[in-house]
Amino acid sequence: MRGPQDLGGLPAGPVDPVVHEHDPTHWEKRIDAMMMLLFDPKRRLARVDESRRMQEALGEDYHKYPYYERWLQAISWLMLEKGVFSQEELDEKQREVRARLEAERSGT
């Protein structure tokens, strides 16, 4: 019964310390910042162990998601689980944001 996060000892490729290095992008930092804020003593809205549980819940998709997309998924599921916002609110907000980003990206 191996969870997708439990990687110790599994076959894997070489580590390239030059190619496998990049400074976090601003988008990644925003996710990192959100997580840290949700964990902080002021909010305590989530614990690191809860975030890990949600990432593990990705199952096989765990390996498809880049690191910070796993964090993002965990934040989103945790906020839904805790009732901070509803699935309907999230869906509606995503539609609105998507339209805005598409317009922005196409330069209109």
Partner: protein, 94 residues
């Protein structure tokens, strides 16, 4: 907080399946190592992961394994070690 083990004690990590979030990786389950140090008592991550309090606290130890006991094909030195933190409820005397 009372504890079952002291540095130098031989311990075996329980070989058990458990659903949910656990911090004991498969590669040490069923393996025998030695208590390297007592880290202290910490909230239980297995219940923290579900938004609970983590109480009662669990005693946490650092356990030292000879690499050769973990991997039959280990190709480094016999003295090479792997050290990892294990909560008391995952350990039994060996």
């Amino acid at each position: 907080m009372e504890r079952k083990f002291e540095p130098g004690d031989a311990v075996r990590v329980l070989e058990r399946n458990q659903p949910g979030h656990v911090r004991t990786p498969l590669y040490v389950r069923g393996k025998v190592g030695v208590i390297e140090r007592v880290v202290g008592s910490f909230p239980n991550p297995e219940t923290l992961a579900y938004g609970q309090s983590g109480l009662p606290y669990k005693m946490l130890y650092r356990v030292n394994f000879a690499q050769q006991t973990l991997w039959s094909d280990y190709d480094g030195r016999p003295e090479d070690t792997l050290e990892i933190e294990i909560y008391e409820h995952w350990l039994e005397p060996a």
